[in-house]
C-alpha cells in the first residue's frame, strides 16, 4: 500500500510490476509470512498456475 520512498523511476517500475502482476509471488510470500507463518508455501510455478486458473474462473475479466 504505502510506496516506500524512492526515485520516480523506481516507483514507476514498482507500479508497473504491481499493475502487471509481475510481483504477485513476492506479495503472496509477504502475505503468507504475515498471516499464515506456519503453513507451507507454494513454489513459484504452482502459485502461478493456481493464480491463472483463479483469474479466469471467477467471472468476466475482459469486456466487449
Amino acid at each position: 500500500m504505502n510506496p516506500r520512498p524512492g526515485t520516480l523511476l523506481t516507483r514507476a517500475w514498482r507500479a508497473l510490476r504491481q499493475l502487471s502482476g509481475d510481483d504477485a509471488y513476492e506479495r503472496y510470500l509477504a502475505h503468507q509470512r504475515e498471516a499464515h507463518p506456519h503453513e507451507p508455501q507454494l513454489d513459484r510455478r504452482a502459485f502461478y498456475e493456481r493464480e491463472q486458473e483463479r483469474r479466469f474462473s471467477s467471472g468476466p475479466t475482459r469486456c466487449c
Binding site: P3, Y28, Q52, F56, C63, C64
Partner: protein
C-alpha cells in the same frame, strides 16, 4: 494542494473545454481539427468525474473513508487485496476496455460526427459511468458480491435468473459479432491472416515461458511476446510478397469462420496458462500502448475531420446499418456510452481490490470516462477518412454491388465522391488487395489509424501501420473470445448442473467438453450465418449485440435503483432511474422496430418474408438462392431472440417497480442489505 490553486485548475479545465466545444460549434461548415474533439471530451469527462461523480459520492452513495472495505476485512493475499487506487484504476480500465468502443463509433460515423460524439459524452457522463460506479459501490458494501448475486438478493429469483440469461445471451452474441469482425479483417488478406495466426504460437510460447522457464515473470514474458508480435507484423509483409506463401494464407470468409470456431473450441478446453493467460497479458500491453500512441498521434498531427456533422442517413436509409438515428444510434454506440458488460467487471474482480471506499469515484466513474474517450478517438479515426472512402470500405457488396465501378458510382451518388482508382491506390498503400466492402469496422479503423500514425510518424510505413492496427484489434478480440467462451461455459455448466448434478462440476472433463461445445456451437452458428450473409452480417448482428448489451445495462441499473429506493434514498433514485428509463425506451423502441417494421432492411420478420417471396418467385441469383433458406431461418431466429430480450427487460423493470411500490406504500423501514460497518485499520 492549496485550495485556491485547485479551484484555479478546475476553472482552467472548464474554460479549455468550453473553448474546444465552442470551436467545434462555431466551425460548422468549415473543416475542424480532430484535436478539439479529444480536448473537449477530456475536459467534459474530467469535470464530470470531479463534480457530478463527487456529488453522487457525497450525497447518494455517502462514501465513507473510515469504513473498512472487503479488500481489508477479507484480505487473503489473492483476490481480496487492498491495492493502491491508481493500480486498481489500471486493472479496471484494462478489463473494461475492449473492441466495442472501437467498432461501435466506427459504424455510427455513418450518421456524421455530431450524433456519435454527443451521445458518447452525454451517455457516459449521465449513464455509463454512473452505472459502473453505482454497481461497484453496491458490490463493495456487500463483500464484493457479483451482479447476479445482488440481482437475486435485491430483486428475487426472477431478477436473478434474468441477469443470468442476459449474461449468457450477451456473451454469445458478443463473441459471434467480434469473431465476424476478425474474419472480415482477414478475408483475402494473406498479410492479416499470417499476422493474426502467428499470435497463437507466440502466445503459447509466452505461456510456456511464464510457467516453465521463468515462472511468474510476467513482464519478461510480455516483453518477449510484444517483440515477437511486432516481428509477425513485419513477417506478414514478407509472406505477402512471396506468391507461394501468399497463396497459403489466402482464405475466404467461410474457411476463416471455421478456423475461428475451431480455435475457440480448442482454446476453451486448453489449460488457462497455455494460451488464454499469456494472450491476455499481450493484448493488455498492446491495447494500452496503442491507445496511448493514438492519443499522442492525434495530438501531434491534428488531423482534419472530413465527415460532415450530419449525413442524410439519419433518416434510416444508412448503408452500414439500417434504422433511424433514434433508437439505432444508441444501440450501435452501446459500449462507449453505456455498457452492461462493465457491470459484471465492476462487481467482479475490481471491488475486491479497493482499499478505501472513497476510491470508488475515480475507479468506477473515471475508468469508464477514459473508456468513452477511447470511443471518441475511434470516432475521430473514422471521421478523418474521406467520407467516400469510409463508405466504400464499410458498405457490404450486397448493398452497393461487388464491382468497383458500380460501388463507387452508387456511393458518389449519395454525395460522397470516391473513385475506383482512389480506392485502388489506397489499398496498394495499405498492402491489401482491395478495400471495398471490408465490413466489420476493423479495416476502416485500421485505415484511419494508419493514416493518423503514418502522417504523425512517417508515411513510408502505411502498410505496416495498417497491419499493426489489424493485429492490435485481433489480439484483444481473440482474448475476449477466449475469456467470453469461458464465462458462458461456467454459466452453462451451472444451468446444466440443475438438470444433472455432475454436469455442474466445473472441472469434470466431460462436462467441460459438452458445455464448451454448446457455447462454441451457439456463437459459431451466428458467426457462420453472418459470414454467408451477402449484406455483411454486421448489419444484423451488431444491433442484436447492442440490444443485448443495453439489456444487461438495464438489469444492472434496475438492481442499483432498487437498492437506492429500498434503503431510503428515494429522492436520489433518479440518478440511476433516469438512465434506466432512457435505456428501457431505447431498447423497447429498437426491439419493436426490429420485430414489427415492414421495411425488410430493419424488421427481422419483414426481411424473412421478403426473402421467402423473392426465393419463391425465383428472383434471386443462384448463389443467393442457395443460402436463402438458412438466412430466412436466421432472420426469424433473430426476431424471436429480440422478442425474448424485450420481454426480459420489462419483466425485470416491472418486478423492480412492484417491489419498490410495495416497500414505499407499506411505509417499511429502510432496508439495510449492506455488511455492517467496521472501522478501517489502514492508515
Amino acid at each position: 494542494m492549496h485550495k485556491g490553486l485547485k479551484a484555479l485548475i478546475w476553472i482552467g479545465i472548464a474554460v479549455l473545454g468550453a473553448a474546444a466545444l465552442g470551436g467545434i460549434a462555431l466551425n460548422r461548415g468549415e473543416s475542424i481539427n480532430a484535436v478539439w474533439f479529444v480536448v473537449a471530451a477530456a475536459c467534459v469527462y474530467l469535470i464530470a468525474t470531479r463534480f457530478y461523480a463527487g456529488w453522487i459520492a457525497a450525497r447518494v452513495m455517502t462514501l465513507d473513508g473510515t469504513r473498512a472495505t472487503p479488500a481489508e476485512r477479507l484480505n487473503n493475499g489473492r483476490d481480496f487485496v487492498p491495492t493502491h487506487r491508481w493500480i486498481v484504476f489500471g486493472h479496471h480500465f484494462a478489463a473494461i476496455a475492449g473492441a466495442g468502443p472501437l467498432v461501435g463509433p466506427t459504424l455510427a460515423a455513418q450518421f456524421g460526427y455530431l450524433p456519435g460524439t454527443l451521445w458518447l459524452l452525454v451517455g457516459a457522463v449521465l449513464g455509463g459511468c454512473v452505472q459502473d460506479m453505482m454497481v461497484m459501490f453496491c458490490s463493495v458494501r456487500r463483500d464484493g458480491r457479483s451482479l447476479g448475486q445482488m440481482a437475486r438478493d435485491e430483486l428475487g429469483r426472477v431478477g436473478g435468473s434474468a441477469a443470468l440469461i442476459g449474461t449468457l445471451a450477451i456473451c454469445i452474441i458478443l463473441i459471434a459479432v467480434l469473431g465476424l469482425v476478425v474474419v472480415k479483417a482477414m478475408t483475402r488478406s494473406p498479410w492479416s491472416s499470417f499476422t493474426v495466426f502467428a499470435t497463437i504460437p507466440i502466445a503459447i510460447l509466452v505461456g510456456i515461458y511464464m510457467r516453465n522457464i521463468r515462472p511468474g515473470r510476467v513482464l519478461e514474458g510480455s516483453a518477449i511476446g510484444v517483440g515477437l508480435l511486432l516481428l509477425s507484423v513485419a513477417g506478414g509483409g514478407w509472406v505477402d510478397s512471396h506468391p507461394a506463401w501468399r497463396a497459403a494464407f489466402d482464405f475466404d470468409s467461410e474457411t476463416l469462420a471455421f478456423f475461428v470456431i475451431a480455435y475457440g473450441f480448442i482454446a476453451a478446453i486448453l489449460p488457462v496458462w497455455l494460451l488464454l493467460a499469456p494472450r491476455d497479458y499481450l493484448s493488455t500491453f498492446v491495447k494500452l500502448g496503442t491507445v496511448l500512441l493514438l492519443a499522442v498521434a492525434i495530438g501531434l498531427l491534428g488531423p482534419e475531420i472530413r465527415m460532415p456533422a450530419l449525413t442524410r442517413f439519419v433518416d434510416g436509409t444508412g448503408p452500414i446499418f439500417s434504422g433511424q438515428l433514434f433508437p439505432f444510434l444508441f444501440i450501435t454506440l452501446a459500449c462507449g456510452a453505456i455498457s452492461g458488460f462493465h457491470a459484471l467487471v465492476s462487481s467482479g474482480t475490481t471491488p475486491k481490490l479497493i482499499a478505501r471506499e472513497t476510491d470508488i469515484r475515480l475507479i468506477g466513474y473515471g475508468s469508464m470516462a477514459l473508456e468513452s474517450l477511447v470511443g471518441v478517438m475511434a470516432l475521430v479515426a473514422a471521421c478523418v477518412l474521406d467520407p467516400g472512402v469510409y463508405f466504400a470500405i464499410n458498405t457490404a457488396a450486397g448493398v452497393v454491388g461487388a464491382d468497383p465501378a458500380t460501388a463507387t458510382a452508387t456511393i458518389t451518388s449519395w454525395g460522397f465522391p470516391v473513385t475506383a482508382d482512389q480506392m485502388q491506390a489506397l489499398a496498394r498503400a495499405m498492402g491489401e488487395e482491395t478495400l471495398f466492402a471490408r465490413t466489420g469496422g476493423a479495416p476502416s479503423l485500421a485505415v484511419g489509424m494508419a493514416s493518423i500514425f503514418g502522417s504523425a510518424f512517417g508515411d513510408g510505413l502505411l502498410a505496416m501501420w495498417y497491419h499493426f492496427a489489424i493485429m492490435f484489434e485481433a489480439v484483444f478480440i481473440l482474448t475476449t473470445l477466449d475469456a467470453g467462451t469461458r464465462v458462458a461455459r461456467f454459466i452453462m455448466q451451472d444451468a446444466l448442473g440443475t438438470l444433472w448434478r455432475p454436469l455442474g462440476e466445473c472441472s469434470w472433463y466431460p462436462s467441460v467438453l459438452l458445455s464448451s461445445l454448446l457455447v462454441v456451437g451457439a456463437w459459431g452458428y451466428f458467426l457462420y450465418i453472418g459470414v454467408i450473409d451477402p449484406n455483411g452480417g454486421i448489419n444484423i448482428l451488431w444491433p442484436l449485440f447492442g440490444i443485448a448489451n443495453q439489456l444487461l445495462a438495464a438489469i444492472a441499473l434496475t438492481v442499483v435503483t432498487a437498492v437506492l429506493v429500498r434503503s431510503g434514498k428515494l429522492r436520489y433514485a433518479w440518478v440511476t432511474a433516469a438512465p434506466l428509463a432512457w435505456l428501457v425506451v431505447v431498447t423497447s423502441t429498437a426491439s419493436l422496430q426490429k420485430l414489427t417494421s415492414d421495411d425488410p432492411r430493419i424488421g427481422f420478420f419483414a426481411a424473412a418474408a421478403d426473402m421467402a417471396a423473392k426465393l419463391a418467385a425465383g428472383a434471386l441469383p443462384p448463389e443467393r438462392a442457395a443460402v436463402a433458406p438458412q438466412l430466412i431461418f436466421n432472420q426469424q431466429l433473430d426476431g424471436w431472440l429480440t422478442a425474448m430480450f424485450l420481454v426480459l427487460v420489462w419483466i425485470i423493470v416491472l418486478d423492480m417497480v412492484r417491489g419498490c411500490y410495495v416497500h414505499l406504500r407499506k411505509r417499511r423501514a429502510p432496508l439495510d442489505t449492506e455488511t455492517p460497518y467496521v472501522p478501517t485499520q489502514l492508515a
